[in-house]
């Protein structure tokens, strides 16, 4: 990528007492990028975000904002704004006053502040409630005001700390689209923190999957989902089947493996998959059943099924190994494979990945 770097994180590490929250983390975030830090709780993503905001400082390493070292710069001097998980709206101020707060501190003149506040409230569809206080708002409305307040000062980077986690499901879906639109329209770099892989895949230009205080993988949503580099990423992002396999031979990005149910096949491998024991990851929706089975095919017996409406999840027994497959119910009669039936099972070699064990 040749685009300008809005943020560079270089060998950043952080301890909290004996607990190592970050172990020498390095990556960069491009300008105008919607960048997501994804990981389970305790993976270090929130610590990283707080470092970008200036609330924490790294033990070692440096953080560059548009090429400038910011580790020693306090939060109120960084052109970075945060949307807090709890929104952190000032309860004693009206919505207007909340949105104007950052502008006033930046020393904007009154007329310009008024115009900008009006514009921001308009943008998040909250103009009618400008004089209300945060306590009188619903969760979704608070979320909008928090966004308006953080975007009003035209920051170089907007940080979002799990901003959707407190909303109900329907609202969350709507806010995802709204956030994405807002990011495209403003052209501001968004750094989004979440533990929800679906949110990350849906909204991001690029995702950094964090685990155990380290960056596990950085890539586009498709790369993260389709080409996970290790077991952690494959497991955390989406559903998958892990098969214990033996690598017989590796050549370029390909590996010839032996599966537990006795097949010798050639599939894509990531990194330096050495000969010997390894793991094969195959996502359930990549495994096709019955007349849809294609690619590498074998037989399996349906031991359990969960009808989900649009999909049916099957659990299969393939020569003593358990495999999960999901099948789209493309027609009304789509869900026709009965429990206990033995059916053809298949997947395309290119959709599986060999991971280090």
């Amino acid at each position: 990528m040749t685009q300008a770097k809005a943020i560079e994180v270089q060998s950043v590490s952080k301890h909290f007492g004996a607990y190592q929250a970050l172990k020498s983390v390095s990556f960069h975030i491009g300008s105008n990028e919607f960048f997501t830090m994804l990981g389970p709780s305790g993976c270090g993503k929130t610590t990283l975000l707080r470092m970008l905001a200036g609330f924490e400082s790294p033990d070692t390493g440096s953080i560059l904002l548009n090429g400038q070292e910011v580790v020693s710069i306090p939060p109120h001097k960084r052109r970075v704004n945060t949307v807090f998980q709890s929104y952190a709206l000032f309860p004693h101020m009206t919505l207007e006053q909340n949105v104007a707060y950052g502008l006033e501190n930046l020393g904007w003149e009154k007329g310009r502040i008024k115009a900008r506040v009006g514009e921001m409230l308009e943008r998040v569809h909250m103009s009618a409630m400008a004089r209300r206080k945060p306590a009188q708002l619903s969760g979704g409305q608070r979320q909008r005001i928090a966004l308006a307040r953080a975007l009003a000062p035209e920051p170089e980077v907007l940080l979002l700390d799990e901003p959707l986690s407190a909303l109900d499901l329907k609202l969350r879906q709507a806010m995802r689209d709204e956030l994405r639109t807002l990011q495209r329209d403003t052209g501001i770099t968004f750094v989004f923190v979440t533990h929800d892989q679906e949110e990350a895949l849906d909204m991001s230009d690029r995702i950094a999957v964090l685990g155990g205080g380290e960056v596990q993988q950085i890539g586009t949503p498709t790369e993260i989902y389709e080409e996970p580099v290790n077991r952690f990423v494959a497991d955390f992002v989406g559903e998958t089947n892990f098969l214990d396999i033996e690598v017989l031979e590796t050549l370029g990005g390909q590996a010839t493996i032996r599966t537990p149910f006795g097949l010798d096949i050639t599939v894509p491998a990531t990194g330096s998959a050495a000969k010997g024991r390894a793991t094969l990851s195959v996502r359930p929706e990549k495994i096709n059943l019955g007349n849809q089975a294609q690619g590498i095919t074998f037989e399996g017996r349906v031991t359990n099924k969960n009808y989900m409406g649009g999909y049916t999840h099957y659990t299969l027994d393939v020569a003593g190994t358990e495999l999960r497959a999901s099948r789209r119910n493309a027609s009304r009669e789509g869900d026709t494979i009965p429990l206990g039936a033995t059916v053809p099972v298949g997947f395309v070699a290119g959709s599986a990945r060999v991971l280090a064990a």
């Binding site: 905001a53 609330f55 306090p74 807090f84 004693h92």
Partner: protein, 309 residues
């Protein structure tokens, strides 16, 4: 059978039980009622009565209705019985409010940063610091005021320290309003720090972070976020400091030298050496009335703030 006939037995059954609870609350509350009655309300009535009694020739008083105690606050009675306006007691009342007000302000100025600092500490250190703030309460107030006399007085700690630094010898900081104020601020400080700390502690820390995030430096954050949100604690602390400060006796007597009087020391003087109980009682009633007015005004302001959306 009618409804009332049906319910009558149940009602009869319930009545004794209700009376039992009523009796229990009456007898249960009796000790505190007696305490309040004898220790608080009765003395106030006695003082109120004394304030309108007549001064006895050799101290004490007689139960003859007389407003001389009150008129004495404003007027001097001449030899021939004519009343002449005198500002001296008004000045004392004014001084009292000034000193109590100054005490409150200075306490606020010190207590807010101290409380803020304590609230930012890890929990274990927090407990120790709060304990340290309350530590002076463990020592008798008289001793604490005497300690200040040792620090500020002639040949005291501070003057000798200054002498070492080249200032003229024999300086004394005692027996003036500054000394009185110092001791008053010192004795009242914990009463301010504790409620202020409690309200700062309740403050959501992410609001402070949000303020910093939105380009607010420490000062802006204090003025626009911390102070408005901790106002209830500040008001509570101010009342706890201001009201007792109005009645201060020890500080003006020991530190101020007893010549620059405050209302408290004036009252004490009337019941003691002055032997003018009705006058002392009248000043006490006046002080109480002023405090009541102040508290009512504060409560009304707080109520108005609550009503506002």
């Amino acid at each position: 059978m009618t409804d009332s006939a049906l319910h009558a037995p149940a009602g009869l059954e319930r009545a004794p039980r209700a009376r039992f609870w009523h009796d229990l609350s009456f007898w249960g509350l009796l000790p505190s009622r007696l305490l309040m009655g004898f220790a608080l309300i009765l003395p106030i009535f006695i003082i109120a009565a004394v304030s309108v009694a007549t001064r006895g020739a050799y101290g004490g008083f007689t139960w003859d209705f007389n407003l001389a105690g009150y008129s004495q606050i404003l007027f001097n009675e001449g030899w021939t019985g004519e009343l002449e306006f005198t500002p001296q007691y008004l000045l004392i009342i004014g001084r009292t409010f000034l000193l109590a007000g100054a005490t409150t302000l200075i306490c606020l100025l010190f207590a807010v940063p101290v409380a803020y600092f304590i609230s930012r500490q890890p929990a274990s250190r927090k407990a120790v610091l709060v304990y340290l703030v309350t530590l002076p309460f463990w020592v008798s107030m008289i001793l604490r005021v005497y300690a200040w006399m040792i620090i500020l007085g002639k040949d005291g700690t501070l003057p000798s320290l200054l002498e070492q630094l080249g200032f003229p010898a024999g300086m004394s900081f005692m027996f003036n309003d500054g000394a009185t104020l110092t001791a008053m601020v010192y004795t009242a400080m914990p009463l301010m720090v504790l409620p202020v700390f409690a309200s700062i502690e309740k403050l959501d820390g992410t609001l402070i972070e949000a303020s910093h995030d939105l380009y607010g430096d420490r000062w802006v954050t204090l003025r626009r976020v911390i102070l408005p949100l901790t106002a209830p604690g500040l008001v509570a602390g101010a009342i706890l400091v201001f009201v007792p400060a109005l009645g201060a006796v020890l500080e003006p007597t020991l530190m101020g030298g007893g010549k620059q009087m405050m209302m408290g020391s004036l009252i004490q003087l009337q019941f003691g050496g002055g032997r003018n109980w009705p006058f002392g009682a009248a000043i006490a009633m006046t002080l109480m009335a002023l405090v009541m007015l102040f508290l009512i005004a504060t409560a009304l302001r707080a109520a108005r703030r609550e009503v506002r959306p």
